[in-house]
């Protein structure tokens, strides 16, 4: 595999999940991602893929999902995730968890897509012909280096601060 080609297209089947874990690990090793960014990229890939498979495709394994990772300079990472399931904007169409609920009232579930929004620097959703596409930008770990945004992100991604 070429060093810069960190992408994978899989069927919508959770038994393929480990291949996505491997993809992120290989990318993180190749670009020496800091531990926080590595964790959050893993999380975004897992939450987007399990959501697409369980909810988008309703566990029908005959669909497809695709994840592609690329460096965006200054230790930043862009994840592009797409699927062929019915139209769904993970940042607006998903119910929001009540993070202030008491233990008794807190409902189990609904956290995955919420966490991506909270932990990512930028995100964007587009409905393209026949597919959902999400782009999420992460890192670098802001506890280690000053926050710098890549030009791509400034031009094309919506930042949480301006939404």
């Amino acid at each position: 595999m070429l060093r810069r080609d960190h992408s994978l297209t899989l069927s919508s089947d959770l038994s393929e999940f480990e291949k996505l874990v491997d993809l992120v690990d290989r990318f993180a090793d190749a670009y020496d991602l800091d531990p926080v960014t590595r964790h959050h990229v893993h999380l975004a890939v897992e939450e987007l893929s399990t959501n697409a498979i369980r909810h988008g495709y309703r566990n029908n394994p005959n669909g497809w999902i695709r994840a592609a990772l690329r460096p965006a300079g200054d230790g930043r990472v862009l994840l592009s995730f797409s699927d062929g399931a019915p139209s769904f904007n993970p940042f607006e169409d998903a119910p929001q968890p009540d993070v202030d609920a008491t233990l008794e009232d807190r409902e189990i579930g609904g956290l995955g897509l919420f966490l991506i929004r909270e932990l990512a620097d930028e995100w964007r959703y587009d409905r393209l012909p026949g597919q959902n596409r999400v782009i999420v930008g992460f890192g670098p770990d802001k506890t280690r280096s000053p926050r710098k945004r890549g030009l791509f992100a400034r031009l094309f991604l919506r930042s949480p601060a301006s939404s």
């Binding site: 893993h42 993070v99 008794e104 807190r106 909270e118 932990l119």
Partner: protein, 112 residues
Amino acid sequence: MSFSVEEREEAGRTVFAPNGRLDTVTAKEFETSLFDRIDSGAKDVLIDFNQIDYISSYGLRVMLKAAKQLSGDDKSFGIFGLSDTIKNVFVVSGFGKIIAISDTLDEALGVG
């Protein structure tokens, strides 16, 4: 994917120490062993996170389920030894207020 879980007793508590990732596949495995013990009578449970380097919403869901099941007068649930990254995921999820999170085992046992 490598995942294992060890179980030990500490001062009357059942301590589970999972090792590896708590993701959509492995957290399900962990859920089974944890709830087997809870269903067979473990009332005071602690989870040791020292060997966990990743958690997703599925892992969080298992922790919330255990905390709910072990709430009440004669039961207890807590977690300790989280990395800063994983602790941040718990806090962002709103679990910092509803699950007892300690830095060390001693602190979790109330002797720290």
